[in-house]
């Protein structure tokens, strides 16, 4: 590690200066606008996947495994095929022997072509029929002979010698810097194991005046977005082209996978997303249902609609899995944390999907929160016979925050230091290099801590405590834009300048409810002076828009805004050129301001964008002005690739932070935790779309409250999810929401336009959950170290505490 590594280079400082000077000068950026797609949604006209109606459309249903671990001996579909209305039946022997998308691993065959099922609910056969109810009836006519195998349902049991082996062999990634997928074996169901030191943790612990250690458990929670996942696939026999209507964070990935797996050339796969009903990380890549609906459509020559029921969605969604975290921290009397050690067991479910990358991500993100210098990590990512996990508004940051933020409180107590003070003492600062080599070019964590504690009246509430009331604090770090592929990791926006001076944006990013398109439109309004009602952001259509990376690591806002900003600059340049032609003056003599082109020497003389746009098309050579903006970061490295030798280096471009403080009152009769006040201080960089960001902070906070108090996926002893519905999976309702105060700390991020970065996520994904645990301890002296902090769990902890006194 180069200790003299300079983060704030001249170039970075120049950029920081530029964006800081401008930060209060914008007309549109940072204001509250009306979302451009709001009217579509308010009138019921927005088109989601299940709203796609095509002539002759069939409905598909999937038969799923009733066993958590079994071999498929035989599938007899003859009776199902005879049912009137059934047009196609598919099983594993009808599909190409390809694997589903995953990061650096291939272990999930399409439609169980390898003859094995590994979790209850895994897809085994599919039917397309003229009616949903006929398709369902057909499922009951399919006879599957299974040979049941012993299964294992938690990570602790799964890694023991003698446990049932879930995978006999997989394709795994090897080689650095060039890598490839090669056959590999799995031992003890461990899909990935990473262990590394940074600095000198042994020395760090020996220097410590106090050490605490604790085991924590974070229970499986799911995104439970309002729109179940699904797809309409439409194979056009004449064009030999397949179109898929999807709801996803990454339409381009679905196109890539369908192309590669089903053997289509580039120009014969089209993926379209109109409106989508939320994803939160859990609709990330191409999956079984995209391939299955595509194959059914190819077989029948008709459009096929395959939408999960809510129950199916609960059972198949890839969200935030069970995790056991043991953590140890050492601290000096003055509050400096000297060392960190972790041992982590991730329950990944039946297939890898994102597990390997998540393992490394979560450690490095967590270690970008505070100035840890000496760390030792050991993380195991383990297969179990349950549904595959993925990500839900974090890549393990939520679970790391749960352990870390409670442990820091325990550490503070040991040295008699205030929990806010110990965090201030260790907070990451702008210009730091993290223990993993990440460059922190903007960090408002200190300000977040100060503002969040001030807003909740921290000092007073800690001192003059009302009985059974307490306050708690927690902080989280989330990334913006990581280098997650070898090649292009940025964003592309194309802007067409229309003849009436309006604009059409073709963005490589997808809009799945996150409000990205509104932010991009705001950039166009700001830079080109075009009002919102003259801006059209086209629905994501891979035939029309550039390739995009997909929504991951909070990159969409920052990178998409950056790309759109750059596209606007390109438009301005081209507009000036065309105007120079029109006005017969040199380009240097012109200036573009707020949608008009001025001759600098005679500023009362101006022409409008509309005039220039029309000129360019009608008079100048018939060519519409099209601006291209490419956001690319060239100084990040793919350190999180599993074959990277050290995983040390500049892995992300930016990090964003938050602090949550919360005041609770505990009902000691029932264990109910009343949330009295929540303060969220969000360091999101320069706020772009203020109203949307407020809404995102609210939503994330409430999701966090759900994970903290109510939500958990429960399995029975056979591996069946016991609560796959909104009755028993308890997402917060309108009356569960406390007053939420939002504070935006806008530390300017030099590498993105306006100084923006990600925002509106950490409070929900990380901080509020441990903040509540810390507040409960402040209120009634019990520490809850496993989620959710249900009423029953809190009451039990209170009773145990009372018992101990006797």
């Amino acid at each position: 590690m180069d200790k003299k590594e300079v983060v704030m280079t001249e170039e970075i400082l120049e950029s920081l200066k530029q964006w800081t000077e401008k930060k209060d000068s914008y007309d549109v950026i940072g204001t509250k606008t009306t979302r451009i797609d709001a009217k579509s949604k308010a009138t019921g006209k927005a088109m989601y996947v299940e709203d796609v109606m095509l002539p002759g459309m069939l409905h598909a249903k999937i038969l799923r495994s009733p066993y958590c671990h079994a071999r498929i001996i035989n599938i007899d579909t003859s009776e199902a095929e005879k049912l009137p209305g059934v047009k196609a039946v598919l099983t594993g022997k009808d599909v190409p022997q390809v694997y589903m998308a995953a990061i650096e691993c291939r272990d999930e065959p399409l439609l169980a072509w390898d003859g094995k099922v590994r979790f209850i609910g895994q897809e085994v056969a599919a039917v397309a029929a003229t009616e949903k109810k006929i398709a369902e009836e057909a499922l009951s006519l399919i006879k599957v002979d299974y040979e049941e195998l012993p299964g294992v349902l938690n990570a602790d049991d799964s890694i023991k010698d003698g446990a049932p082996q879930i995978h006999d062999g997989i394709l795994t990634y090897e080689g650095w810097p060039d890598g490839e997928l090669v056959p590999g074996k799995v031992k003890n169901n461990i899909a990935y194991h990473a262990a590394y030191d940074r600095g000198d943790p042994d020395q760090g612990f020996s220097e410590a005046d106090a050490i605490v250690e604790q085991e924590f458990f974070y229970k499986h929670v799911v995104a439970a977005y309002m729109e179940p996942d699904g797809c309409v696939a439409d194979y056009h026999a004449g064009e030999e082209k397949i179109t898929l209507y999807v709801t996803t964070q990454w339409p381009a990935n679905i196109k890539d996978n369908i192309m590669r797996n089903l053997g289509f050339p580039q120009n014969k796969v089209r993926v379209i997303q109109n409106a989508a009903g939320g994803a939160f990380g859990s609709k990330f890549m191409a999956n079984q249902l995209h391939h299955i609906s595509a194959l059914l459509s190819m077989k029948t020559g008709k459009p096929v609609k395959l939408i999960r029921t809510r129950t199916e969605d609960f059972e198949l969604v890839r969200s935030r899995g069970d995790m056991k975290l043991w953590m140890k921290l050492g601290v000096k009397k003055d509050g400096t944390i000297t060392a960190e050690q972790t041992k982590i067991l991730m329950d990944n479910g039946a297939y890898q999907f994102l597990g390997r990358r998540r393992s490394l991500h979560q450690l490095e993100r967590s270690d970008a929160t505070y100035r840890f210098k000496n760390v030792r990590h050991d993380i195991k990512n383990v297969y179990t016979n349950k549904n595959t996990t993925g990500c839900y508004r974090s890549f393990g940051d939520a679970q790391m925050a749960w352990a870390r933020e409670i442990l820091i409180d325990m550490l503070a107590e040991k040295i008699n230091m205030d929990p806010a003070e110990i965090r201030l003492k260790n907070a990451m600062q702008t210009g730091d290099v993290t223990v993993n080599g990440w460059h922190i070019k903007s960090c408002g964590l200190t300000e977040c801590i100060n503002k969040a504690t001030e807003a909740i009246n921290w000092d007073e509430k800690r001192k003059n405590k009302r009985f059974k009331r307490g306050v708690g604090i927690a902080c989280t770090c989330h990334e913006t834009d990581d280098r997650s592929t070898e090649g292009f990791g940025g964003s592309v926006s194309l802007i067409k300048l229309l003849e009436d001076g309006g604009a059409q944006l073709l963005a490589g990013e997808a809009e799945y409810g996150n409000g990205a398109y509104n932010a991009f439109a705001m950039v166009i309004s700001e830079e080109l002076g075009i009002p919102a009602d003259m801006i059209d952001v086209v629905a994501h259509d891979t035939d029309r828009v550039p390739w995009g990376q997909g929504a991951t690591g909070s990159r969409v806002m920052a990178q998409g805004v950056n790309a759109t900003y750059l596209a606007c600059q390109d438009v301005i340049k081209k507009v000036i050129n065309a105007a120079s032609d029109m006005l017969k003056v040199k380009p240097e003599e012109l200036e573009f301001k707020r949608g008009k082109i001025y001759v600098i020497s005679s500023p009362d003389k101006s022409i409008s964008l509309a005039e220039v746009a029309e000129y360019a098309i009608r008079k100048r050579g018939g060519s519409m002005i099209i601006g291209e903006g490419v956001d690319e970061r060239w100084d990040t490295e793919l350190i999180l690739k599993i074959t990277h030798p050290t995983h040390y280096g500049r892995g992300v471009d930016s990090t964003y932070y938050d602090t949550v403080t919360v005041e609770v009152e505990v009902d000691t009769e029932t264990g109910e935790v009343h949330l009295l006040n929540v303060v969220v201080a969000d360091d999101c960089g320069k706020v772009i779309d203020r109203r949307q960001l407020e809404g995102q902070v609210d939503g994330a906070t409430v999701q966090g409250i759900g994970a903290a108090l109510f939500e958990e996926i429960i399995w029975d002893d056979k591996g069946q999810i016991a609560n796959p519905n909104y009755t028993d999976y308890k997402v917060p309702l309108a009356h569960n929401v406390p007053p939420i105060q939002r504070i935006f700390v806008e530390s300017i991020e030099p590498v993105f336009a306006y100084g923006c970065k990600g925002g509106g996520e950490s409070p929900g994904i990380g901080s509020i959950v441990p903040a509540i645990s810390n507040a409960i301890y402040d209120a009634v002296g019990v520490r809850i170290t496993s989620t959710p902090m249900s009423k029953e769990k809190v009451l039990l902890a209170l009773k145990e505490k009372e018992g101990k006194r006797i």
């Binding site: 009138t43 977005y225 309002m226 729109e227 939320g278 409810g513 407020e694 309108a734 929401v737």
Partner: protein, 157 residues
Amino acid sequence: MKQKIVLNLNGEDYEVFVLPDDTLLDAIRDRAGLTGCKHGCDDGKCGACTVIMDGKAVRSCLMFAISAQGKKITTIEGLSKGTESLHPIQKAFIEHGAIQCGFCTPGMIMFVKSYLDDNPQPTEDEIRNALAGNICRCTGYVKIIDAVKAAAEEMRQ
């Protein structure tokens, strides 16, 4: 065997063919082509399917289509058609940022309409408790409640 029924949706009669156990939600969406109301769940808990029937908010996913004959049903499409101006509740949702992914929105708006028609001056607590029957995963309900308060005020005028 499908049977022909007539559903009165937004003041118009729609002749559709339904199976005996088709739900009203399926009939409105798949048979009558009004796709505003949504399938959000399997147990009537999320409210995305809410429509107004004879002046009362109902879960169209829990009702058989056949039993909806002879009733006046209003869906989100009935609040404003074509180039008509928006209902105050729609305007309030848009202006207050109460819409993110929008999937819960039609059901939410229809519920709010029937609620405010019955309760023109609700307190914030009353609004929260009433809204507890509709799930939103994106907004945390905060701006939805702001919108309902604003809409109530405008509708009183």
